[in-house]
């Protein structure tokens, strides 16, 4: 139960309950505002009836020709609002906008290969692994981790050219992205 609406700039003052969660990164002003300035319709928030921010999604449209697609840059839900279907609602919205407004071929996202919960969830939403990116996540202390690049084709990709079978074995280096 929530209101799915566009992210307002001043929401940045009120998103601590979401962003203090350890897996949610807080970026500088330019990062958020660049997304808002370029893709205001791909940056949305779920707000509870009492006005608390429950989670948000930020995305962009990028790529050339048949690679033109919607990309999920970040999606997060505060701990106490998990397992309520909020991520589902936000993903649907991003897919819908990617399809109807940006006319993309697919939607994609990156996820840590260790994040089984999220991978399972994305599969349920219709995403499949397209490739595995070596050392995509690198935090300072040698904690390198691979990412799965997961994709879901949109109706424009009639022949499902944007996805492949067994993408887990399709290994690439970050510089080849």
């Amino acid at each position: 139960m929530s209101e799915l609406r566009r992210f307002k700039t001043t929401d940045l003052f009120r998103f601590n309950n979401v962003n203090l969660d350890v897996l949610t990164e807080t970026y500088n002003i330019s990062f958020y505002l660049t997304y808002l300035a370029r893709w205001p319709d791909l940056f949305c928030v779920q707000e509870s009836p009492s006005g608390t921010i429950m989670g948000y999604i930020m995305g962009k449209a990028e790529g050339r020709n048949k690679d033109w697609h919607g990309h999920v840059t970040a999606i997060t839900v505060a701990p106490e609002y998990r397992r309520l279907g909020l991520a589902d609602g936000m993903m649907k919205l991003l897919e819908n906008v990617s399809e109807k407004i940006y006319d993309g071929y697919f939607v994609d996202l990156f996820v840590r290969v260790s994040n089984k919960v999220a991978i399972g969830m994305y599969k349920k939403f219709g995403y499949s692994v397209f490739r595995r990116v070596n050392g995509y996540y690198s935090s300072g202390d040698n904690n390198e981790e691979d990412a799965f690049d997961m994709r879901k084709p949109l109706p424009r990709d009639e022949n499902r050219e944007s996805v492949i079978e067994n993408g887990e074995n399709n290994i690439v280096k970050p510089e080849d992205l």
């Binding site: 139960m1 929530s2 209101e3 799915l4 609406r5 566009r6 307002k8 700039t9 001043t10 940045l12 003052f13 009120r14 601590n16 309950n17 962003n19 203090l20 969660d21 350890v22 897996l23 807080t26 970026y27 500088n28 002003i29 330019s30 505002l33 660049t34 808002l36 300035a37 370029r38 205001p40 319709d41 949305c44 509870s48 009836p49 009492s50 608390t52 701990p79 106490e80 609002y81 998990r82 397992r83 309520l84 279907g85 609602g89 919205l93 819908n96 906008v97 109807k100 407004i101």
Partner: protein, 908 residues
């Protein structure tokens, strides 16, 4: 003629490269070398200006740049170099002129014209923007430029007095109408702009018409924009289009049964129809066509659909509660179809395992009687099958039980609980937490254990007890539980926030600083979260760390200055008109942040103290670092601050009538404008004394300070008793100074006045002296004590500094008659301060000794003083508890006290 061509790129490139890697010395050498051969080459001058700016030689840089600017250059590299000098210095108007000149010479260069427009944007020159936009549109025939101009008119309207505002906005509307008729409006963002213009004038009907008459492709785009859907729905309500609003919300709900906004629109519309006797176009009453039963039927149908799914959504069920709640509150004569109590019980049976359950139900429990509340909790408990074997169900039960406890607390069922029952309740919660741990053994490091909220609830009970009985042992018990649980859920920020508050209440700062650091708070969070550690950070007397913590928050304000204007530029570039006002507002709220100013004043307070270890240093500090014009405190300044501090992030399950946990755990009132006033005036008074001129400005400062400290002590006033004392003392010191000047001017009668002021200061000092602390027991040691000591030292410090300033003036003047008497008076003051500090030092030394050997004693008190928690009785936990007392409690106390002793020693 201004041109770049007179220096070849081959020659300039090394300079650029050197600048890029910040090798300014080499860049300057190369630049000078080339300038020798071509002293008039503008690009060289501009680059030299840039190098000078980067190396802090602002004046020279600006001089060079203005020479270049006079030549009206239009080559992009020259313009860029000058812009790079002007922008960091905030000289946006220079950049505007620069590009204006360039555009005039190259009217067909679109890129230059764009730069010109953006320079105006950075300069907040809405009028200039509007005209530039029009010019660009006329020259280059790009629609975007026209909308830039219209957007600028809207901003002009927002910032103009009302009479002009109306003119600007209606002009914007006319331009928009024309743009539409010429079929220029093609994007959703341009429709947004149109909506901004119409909504600003409350033209709801017109706005709705615009939306309903969009061309097909644009209408389709808008249909997929959440914001546009919301605007349209709001307009339907505002124009009384109830039936359409109902249809719109119904179709939203078909797609998403969790769309709360759609339910609200639906329910609002239904009630409007029921309560009015509006008729439709055929003269038939609307309320005959549609009534409450239809609404219920609609919600039931949605519920049925959800009930068949494995993952039922809460929406239609909560909406039913909302509907019946409104029936109860609005229509007294109509009965709800089902009582709220019944609905709430049905709800927990379906969704009692959701962690949002507590928040979901809160609005519907407000009118519950004690009896109803008890019955509800009993029903909830009875619905939980604690004997189930399935692990998944067991995990769900954990959440259900947590919800029971939260609701029980919220409903006030624990308010009369006595101490021993409360401790037993804490033990029960802790046991539930420990039982839950077994199911979380496979959880990742980054996840919280399933039962963490049991610990939060237990600590809330202990905080209640502390507030009732005033005994610190309850806080220690809470800390032990939270600290222990934090080992299992390393990143639980709710634990950390509570711990920060509890430690602070006990007068401990080092551990809170560590906890705060571990939360990785950064960027915009620095503005909203830093108050958890920076507020009154001087209390703990660990000055270096406190100053550092304050300074660490400042980058966000600088970033706002640098980054946000660029983002406004981006919004224009991508023609995202819906975000421009938002960005401007965001910038304003951060720029005028209350926290920013509070931090600034706390830094001055801390630095004043540390600098005045040495008289020369503090004089230099007052000379160089204190700028009166930065110490604004007048009413208009204060009221235009934005309070972005986050006080709601801490979870709270207290009933709506009682204080929140955040309020319950704060040891001192939250800083406000009165605090800001006092600590803006204090350094100003010293600045004037130091300057020794413009004495007349001192009186209003003193009076304002006296008024502030005399303010009635009412709920919500942001100053403490000790801060009043500081204010009073500094005001007296100001008076002392003024009177001293009178004496120097030969007013004999002022000598007596002076002696009276000094006596007052001495006796006030004795009053505030911490003598009642002579027998502090460790189990009672808390923030209050640290705060009394630290503010006492601070007060003494102000007296010492003022005394020295006046003394210097006597020494400078050769020994006139009467000066001896004055010197004696000042000596008396100084002796009194020293005596007081000596005794304080002795107290602190005694206390320090107590802390050094007192841990076992403290622990036995914590255990025996009140009913003791099972956790604390358990010998297995002894090591952890002792560790906390040694490494987190005593260590911080000792550091604070030793630092205070040191601060005193510097002054006696």
């Amino acid at each position: 003629m201004a041109s770049i061509t007179d220096v070849s790129e081959r020659k300039i490139r090394p300079i650029y490269e050197a600048i890029e890697i910040s090798n300014y010395k080499s860049a300057l050498t190369q630049c000078n070398k080339l300038l020798k051969k071509q002293p008039e080459a503008l690009i060289l001058k501009a680059l030299k200006g840039l190098i000078l700016e980067r190396t802090g030689k602002t004046e020279e840089a600006l001089q060079l740049c203005s020479q270049v600017k006079e030549k009206k250059p239009f080559d992009e590299p020259i313009l860029q170099a000058l812009t790079m000098v002007y922008r960091p210095l905030g000289k946006h108007d220079e950049i505007v002129q620069l590009y204006e000149n360039a555009v005039r010479q190259n009217p067909n260069n679109e890129e230059l014209a764009n730069h010109w427009f953006m320079a105006l944007v950075r300069n907040n020159d809405y009028k200039g923007q509007q005209q530039a936009g029009l010019k660009l549109h006329k020259t280059f025939k790009v629609n975007k430029y026209l909308f830039w101009s219209i957007m600028s008119l809207v901003l002009q309207a927002e910032n103009a007095p009302e009479s002009q505002s109306t003119i600007f906005i209606s002009l914007a509307e006319r331009m928009m109408i024309k743009a539409v008729s010429e079929e220029r409006m093609k994007t959703t963002e341009e429709v947004h702009l149109y909506m901004i213009i119409l909504l600003k004038q409350n033209k709801f009907k017109e706005a709705l018409e615009v939306l309903e008459n969009l061309k097909v492709d644009l209408a389709q785009k808008c249909e997929n924009d959440t914001e546009m859907i919301h605007i349209r729905n709001d307009l339907l309500l505002k124009t009384g289009n109830w039936i359409k609003a109902i249809d719109a919300s119904k179709s939203s709900l078909e797609v998403n049964a969790d769309d709360w906004k759609a339910y609200l629109i639906y329910i609002d519309s239904i009630f409007h129809i029921i309560e009015s006797d509006e008729k439709d176009e055929n003269g038939e009453s609307l309320n005959k066509k549609l009534n409450l039963d239809d609404a219920r039927e609609f919600l039931y149908s949605l519920q049925n659909k959800e009930s068949q799914s494995n993952d039922a959504k809460r929406g239609p069920f909560l909406a039913e509660l909302e509907l019946e709640k409104r029936v109860v509150s609005i229509k007294k004569e109509i009965k709800p179809a089902k009582e709220i109590e019944t609905l709430v019980i049905e709800y927990i049976r379906k969704f009692g395992e959701k962690s949002s359950c507590f928040e979901d139900l809160k609005p519907y429990l407000k009118d519950f009687s004690l009896e109803t509340s008890k019955k509800f909790i009993e029903e909830f408990k009875a619905s939980i099958d604690n004997n189930c074997e399935d692990e998944k169900l067991k995990i769900r039960n954990i959440q259900k039980n947590i919800n029971v406890y939260k609701l029980e607390r919220y409903l006030g069922l624990l308010s009369d609980i006595n101490e021993s029952d409360a401790i037993a309740y804490v033990d029960k919660l802790w046991k539930s937490y420990e039982d839950a741990l077994q199911y979380g053994s496979n959880l990742l490091d980054t996840e919280n254990q399933y039962g963490d909220d049991f610990v939060i609830l237990a600590s809330h009970i202990l905080i209640d007890l502390y507030n009732k009985k005033g005994q610190n042992s309850f806080l220690y018990h809470a800390i032990f539980l939270l600290d222990n649980a934090l080992h299992k859920s390393k990143y639980n920020f709710q634990f950390k926030l509570l711990l920060i508050r509890l430690y602070r209440a006990l007068g401990i700062i080092l551990e809170p600083l560590e906890l705060y650091k571990s939360m990785d708070i950064k960027h915009v969070q620095l503005d909203t979260m830093s108050h958890y550690v920076c507020e009154r950070s001087s209390s703990f007397a660990i000055y270096e760390d406190a100053i550092q913590a304050c300074y660490d928050t400042l980058p966000i304000y600088r970033n706002n200055d640098v980054e946000t204007p660029e983002m406004i530029v981006q919004a224009y570039k991508y023609a995202t008109f819906s975000k421009i006002q938002e960005f401007i507002q965001f910038r304003k709220e951060l720029d005028n942040s209350l926290q920013k100013i509070l931090i600034d004043r706390e830094i001055i307070r801390l630095e004043f103290l540390t600098m005045s270890k040495d008289f020369k240093n503090i004089m230099e500090y007052l000379e160089k670092e204190i700028d009166t014009s930065d110490l604004n405190y007048d009413d208009s300044f204060c009221t235009s601050r934005y309070d972005n501090r986050d006080f709601v992030v801490m979870n709270n399950y207290n009933s709506s009538q009682s204080k929140t946990v955040e309020e319950d755990t704060r040891v001192s009132p939250k800083l406000d404008n009165t605090w800001l006033k006092i600590f803006s005036i204090v350094p100003q008074i010293f600045k004037v004394m130091h300057n020794n001129n413009n004495i007349d400005s001192l009186i209003p400062l003193i009076e304002e300070l006296e008024n502030s400290v005399k303010l009635e002590n009412k709920e919500g006033l942001g100053i403490t008793l000790e801060e009043r004392h500081i204010g009073k003392t500094v005001a007296s010191l100001g008076r002392l100074y003024v009177t001293f000047k009178e004496v120097q001017r030969g007013q004999k009668e002022s000598v007596e006045k002076l002696s009276k002021i000094i006596d007052e200061i001495i006796s006030a000092l004795k009053d505030t002296f911490t003598k009642e602390f002579s027998e502090i027991k460790l189990q009672e040691l808390s923030w209050k004590h640290m705060y009394r000591f630290s503010t006492f030292i601070e007060t003494c410090n102000y007296i010492i500094v003022a005394n020295k300033i006046v003394n210097e003036m006597i020494n400078v003047k050769n020994k006139k008659s009467g000066n001896k008497e004055l010197a004696q008076m000042l000596q008396a003051l100084s002796t009194s301060v020293k005596q007081n500090l000596e005794s304080t030092k002795k107290q602190l030394n005694d206390l320090n000794e107590k802390i050094k050997n007192g841990n076992d004693d403290l622990l036995s008190h914590i255990k025996s003083e009140n009913n003791c928690t099972e956790f604390c009785k358990n010998d297995e936990n002894l090591q952890l508890i002792k560790g906390i007392l040694a490494d987190k409690v005593s260590l911080s106390w000792k550091s604070s006290i030793e630092s205070m002793i040191q601060a005193i020693e510097f002054r006696i």
